[in-house]
Subunit: 335 residues, 2 copies
């Protein structure tokens, strides 16, 4: 006969609630107790029945995470945060990558409308300039929440970091270190995060009486080789910046390689700051000053808010913006 | 012809009831008997009555990817490969992270037995030294395929890279560059990939008449701070190596930081090679010589083979090993 939770409880002399929490990997339960419960569950062949409980609760216990890519330290750490909370809550996580394509994102959202998932966490693609596909999912009663890259016009919960302040702090730091001509390397300028960081950068420059005409916003793309040429051209021009802010991680390698190719020293010729959570930032040549985003915390918070809403009869997500601040980590690339 | 329970019973000289209980991992059956039953079931391609579960399982159009972590360039690129093929084939991808815990991996596998997914792609945790949980899933008719980190005793399809040759090539390269004392930094020595790479390293050393007593296998863990102390101690010892092979990406930062702390020059004091797909390898201080694994291709191949099998009436995965070679990329950390 199949073991039930109460069989485990009896055998271990623990409450049913404790067993249930241990099976969900809840932080309320000690590692030792979890280990005992999991070992007994394995021995007695206990397994929850997703169909029985799914029918009763009319849900799939599955959420979708839609994001541009996974080979990026911000998104991979955010997934870690989401997965941790999902596990504790007994949810399964479907991953969908848009590879920065709006058409792909639209197609993915369309599939959810047949009721595969209980909720959606999304960080939109670089091409996403409209939100009809997301509003359509919401209109069908599927909770959708944004993390990091949001659509401002969609009334739901947004979990973000302080991009405006981070852009401001990055530019302010470069100005403090003596930079006179700071370039901001953007990708997909329509993205909330890219434009907020840019506005922060612009504000810092304006405060230092650098006129709008002297702003140096350079548009990059997802093509690493093209980005390399763009950066090379910038650094070869008469208008060569003495400071660069990279709005996304993937631009870092292009900047460092272009400086090396032109024999420009970082930081004495050009100072560099990137938005990234790369663990290797400390061992780059030179170590990289970063705006380090709370990626894991953003993932965790997004999943926590979503599961809390899914636990209620009315799963409507509040219109709210939760902001978790980033940190400026100063290293040799700017000092 | 497809094996039935009574075929298994006859072959093992056991009752049908015993076989049935063993397949359900019942606690009434001894581990030894379970092992015999599961191995035979896997060999004879036994899968349970399709009316009971097979049809339902093949309808979810969902696969599970079970892997240790996502914040690692190998695994994130492998996910990219899997996701690309899944999308083309109309499949959904559930992601489960074991965080290198065997108990967690067991618990995840147990959930699938109630029929959530059509197939499983797994790269096992660092703690996984036995494969009963995987054989149990196979015995219930769920196709399971390994990529990268395999259990050699499970008869199914394994997609790997040439770890032995890569370990050999890494050590050979260091020997060619004049290293006399080469350390191999291992994590989870029971893992197929770690031990294959180590055997390759040992062979290269043996060919150069370096005796087994001079082998320098250092055991690291998943704790970055502990690894840093381990590497620091190694480099501070009388037995200081002049060459280091890092078996996994996450050891790289510890090695570079420990060399910097001790003012050891890479490569003149210590040469360093890592197994990694890091895009930043080229901009490290100094640029890092890597064994670059075909991560994206391994993911793509794994998903392709699985979906091809799922498209057939009989989804049994062949016992086969597909090897996609890695490449040695020589950079300034070794020359």
């Amino acid at each position: 006969m199949k073991a039930r939770i109460k069989d485990l409880a009896k055998e271990l002399n623990l409450s049913v609630a404790t067993i249930s929490k241990a099976l969900k990997d809840s932080h309320e339960i000690s590692p030792e107790t979890k280990k005992r419960v999991l070992e007994l569950a394995a021995r007695l062949n206990y397994s929850p029945n997703p169909y029985a409980s799914g029918l009763r609760r009319k849900n799939s216990h599955t959420i979708a995470v839609v994001l541009p890519e996974v080979a990026d330290s911000f998104f991979s750490e955010a997934i870690n945060g989401i997965e941790e909370v999902a596990r504790e809550n007994g949810y399964h996580v479907l991953i969908y990558l848009t590879h920065e394509s709006f058409l792909r994102e639209e197609a993915i959202l369309r599939e959810f409308r047949s009721g595969r998932v209980d909720g959606i966490l999304i960080s939109v693609s670089g091409e996403t300039a409209q939100s009809g596909h997301i509003k359509a999912a919401l209109a069908e009663g599927i909770p959708v929440m944004f993390f990091d890259r949001i659509c401002e016009d969609v009334e739901t919960t947004h979990i973000i970091t302080d991009d405006f302040e981070s852009g401001y702090n990055a530019a302010k730091h470069l100005l403090d270190k003596g930079c006179k001509k700071i370039a901001y390397l953007a990708v997909a300028a329509n993205l909330s995060v890219i434009s907020s960081r840019m506005k922060g950068y612009q504000k810092a420059l304006a405060e230092n009486n650098i006129s709008a005409g002297d702003l140096n916003v350079i548009h990059c793309s997802n093509d690493i080789e093209k980005n390399y040429s763009v950066v090379l051209d910038l650094l070869n021009s008469n208008n060569r910046p003495d400071g660069i802010i990279a709005s996304v991680e993937k631009l870092t390698t292009s900047i460092y390689l272009a400086c090396a190719a032109l024999k420009l020293n970082i930081p004495s010729d050009v100072k560099v700051i990137s938005f990234t959570n790369l663990h290797t930032a400390v061992i780059l040549n030179p170590p990289l000053t970063t705006i380090t985003q709370p990626a894991f915390e953003i993932g965790k918070m997004a999943a926590t808010v979503l599961f809390k809403a899914l636990g209620k009869r009315d799963v409507a997500l509040k219109k709210q913006t939760i902001v978790i601040p980033s940190a400026l980590n100063i290293r040799a690339s700017t000092v």
